[in-house]
């Protein structure tokens, strides 16, 4: 855009002269306003300032002097300058010239105008006008600069005040809060009135605040210009937030420290999400580990259950073949060898079965039982018959009501009572009987297995049921020599039925293992 020309007001009652003047200044950087009367000229002056006013004196309606005076006065009122050059065809004489000057006229031009001289004179005033205009423009620039700075500060304040995601505030050089924005209020929980003037250590957990960390941060910010970290901060309500914190030193242009800008961002959610992700990953790893352990356990159980036991079954069959051949040949020595092989095989088979139970119980969350309606008598009678056959010298008494039944796992209870009665025979006084006494007690059946053996010390009684624990015994016969898992597994099996085993032992009364078995599973209707 081209700068506007220097404003020039041309006043003449003769159109032809006005046109001539126009021609004189056209295209020379002026903006021309042409009027044909003093009134019109005054009117123009109302609207704007002119660099020069060329005024012709000889006008019919208004006297030139009169017009000049009016314009000068009005211009003064408006705070404008109105340098008037009089154009005149006559010689004014000294008095009139002085009158003209007093009326505000600055110069005179003899008509007809000498174009060069007129242009030169106008140019002088135009220069004056422009230089003054420039000066005033500079003043305006300064003002607008001030206004701009103010506007910029206002905008910046608006920006800071509209930020909700960041706490943005200023600390004085000692660390006291000077400003506070809504983001700070939202994140930290303090209102501006509550926090301004307080030391910023209130944002730290007490132990951290006491450690001198806050001052350290300001020292670093002052030294390096900036301090940044992520850490736990305290909200007004005492809750913790995980924050990204930046502290920036604020300095005068000269370098003097005037305070610190502190920007805090709440990353608690992000940390929480990361925590959740970490937790998920850990759970996934734990699950994979669980699967791995389960696979290992299944493999282990398979090895115990089949791979180790299948050869035993082959040994057992071979021993039986050998035993019968020896018998048919009346070869007693070979028959004894075969018997030893069989009893060792049975013992090993039982130990493997126990290890299998222990493994299933420890790793697999309990022993599985398959319930069916049964009576205890049938099971116990079978065991007693077998043990009487194996120990013909021992007396085994048994009292069992036919109705002592329940919903139990027959194979597993056979395992339990076989273990208890075998133990009673092994540890009991060989001269006195082993007694099995079954009683009904409403919704439960109580079976006691008693022997007259040495008293089991108090301290050992609870330990007896721990895996790999054995009662004291010198002899280790094929019947009882085992891993010390029998009582442990027996109790686990009874517990799997919802019952329990306890032991009573006195010096004179002997030892009784008492099995209590609820007739029905606890979570099923007992009718």
């Amino acid at each position: 855009m081209q700068a506007p020309g220097t404003p020039l007001l041309l006043v003449d009652d003769r159109r032809a002269d006005l046109t001539a003047l126009e021609t004189l200044f056209e295209g020379r950087g002026y903006e021309l306003t042409c009027v044909t009367s003093g009134d019109e000229a005054t009117d123009k002056l109302e609207r704007r300032e002119f660099a020069v006013i060329l005024l012709d004196l000889q006008m019919p309606t208004t006297d030139g002097f009169e017009t000049a005076r009016k314009m000068t006065d009005r211009a003064a009122q408006l705070g404008r300058r109105a340098p008037i050059i009089f154009g005149t065809a006559i010689d004014l004489g000294r008095t009139r010239i002085l009158d003209a000057y007093s009326a505000g006229v600055v110069d005179f031009m003899q008509k007809p105008f000498e174009p060069e001289i007129l242009r030169a004179k106008v140019a002088i005033f135009a220069d004056l006008y422009r230089s003054r205009d420039f000066a005033s423009e500079s003043t305006r620039d300064l003002e607008s600069e001030r206004r701009g700075a103010k506007e910029e500060a206002r905008r910046f304040r608006l920006l800071v005040e509209s930020v909700k995601d960041y706490a943005i505030f200023i600390l004085d050089p000692k660390g006291h809060v000077v400003t506070w924005n809504p983001g700070a209020e939202r994140i930290k929980g303090y209102r501006a009135s509550e926090i301004i003037g307080k030391h910023f250590s209130v944002f730290y957990p007490p132990d951290v605040a006491k450690s001198g960390k806050c001052d350290e941060e300001l020292v670093i910010a002052e030294r390096d210009g900036r301090f940044e970290e992520e850490g736990w901060r305290l909200r007004k309500d005492g809750s913790l937030l995980w924050a990204n914190v930046t502290i920036t030193a604020l300095r005068e242009p000269g370098g003097a420290l005037i305070g610190f800008a502190k920007v805090t961002r709440d990353l608690t959610d992000r940390v929480r999400n990361e925590g959740t992700l970490r937790q998920l990953a850990a759970e996934k790893a734990a699950h994979a580990e669980k699967v791995r352990i389960q696979e290992f356990q299944e493999r282990f159980v398979a090895i115990l259950g089949h791979d180790l036991r299948n050869p035993l079954s082959a040994i057992d069959m071979s021993a039986r073949v050998l035993r019968e051949r020896a018998a048919s040949l009346n070869d007693e020595a070979t028959a004894r060898i075969a018997d030893r092989m069989r009893s060792s095989t049975t013992r090993m088979s039982r130990m493997i079965a126990q290890i299998l139970d222990l493994t299933r119980n420890r790793l697999g969350g309990g022993l599985e039982i398959k319930r069916a309606h049964m009576t205890l008598c049938a099971t116990i009678t079978a065991i007693v018959d077998e043990l009487r056959a194996a120990h013909p010298a021992r007396r085994i008494d048994m009292h069992c009501p036919e109705t002592a039944g329940g919903c139990w796992d027959a194979d597993r209870l056979e395992q339990v009572f076989s273990n208890l009665v075998s133990n009673a025979i092994h540890y009991g006084d060989p001269e006195r009987p082993v007694t099995i006494d079954v009683q009904e007690d409403g919704q439960a059946v109580i079976a006691g297995v008693h022997n007259y053996g040495a008293q089991i010390p108090e301290a050992l009684r609870t330990e007896l049921f721990n895996p790999f624990k054995r009662g004291k015994s010198d002899s280790k016969t094929s019947e009882t020599g085992g891993l010390g898992l029998g009582l442990y597994i027996s109790r686990e099996l009874v517990r799997a039925h919802g019952g329990d085993i306890d032991v009573q032992s006195t010096a004179t009364g002997g030892t009784t293992f008492r099995v209590s078995l609820p007739r029905m599973p606890r979570d099923s209707p007992s009718s």
């Binding site: 259950g305 036991r309 299948n310 069959m317 073949v321 051949r325």
Partner: protein
């Protein structure tokens, strides 16, 4: 070429047993034990060999390990082949497996009895006697 077994010539002895197991110790122990109990026993380490033998001589019972690792055929395959033989409708099948429940679930209908490994010698004999007693042939 003979199309199928020799049944028309001589009736199958009621005590003839075939044992199929790829574990030689177990197989021979079973065979010895069953012979001692009065059975006539042939033993094979693969189902293929057992099937071959059956083209000339049909047993009363085939006792078969399910997981056979030596031949191409599993116990299931062999059982299906035997069941498909028109001449072998009188042959009883007894499966042996570490996972009896799995056998029952998969192909229970193929077998007259299923025994869980490790095999109890007495249980094996009892099972064979029971299966053969079921036989209604004249």
């Amino acid at each position: 070429m003979r199309s199928c077994g020799p049944m028309s010539a001589s009736p199958t002895p009621r005590n003839r047993i075939i044992v199929v197991d790829d574990d030689p110790e177990a197989r021979e122990a079973f065979a010895e034990f069953l012979r001692m109990r009065g059975f006539s026993v042939d033993d094979f380490d693969t189902a293929e060999k057992a099937l071959d033998s059956m083209s000339t001589d049909l047993p009363a019972v085939v006792v078969m390990d399910i997981n056979l690792s030596r031949g191409m055929m599993t116990g299931y395959d062999a059982a299906r082949r035997i069941r498909a033989l028109p001449s072998a409708e009188t042959v009883h099948l007894v499966a042996m497996s570490g996972h009896a429940a799995e056998v029952v679930e998969k192909e229970g209908a193929l077998f007259d009895a299923i025994l869980t490994k490790p095999i109890d010698a007495d249980a094996l004999v009892l099972t064979l006697q029971r299966v053969i007693a079921k036989d209604t042939r004249p």
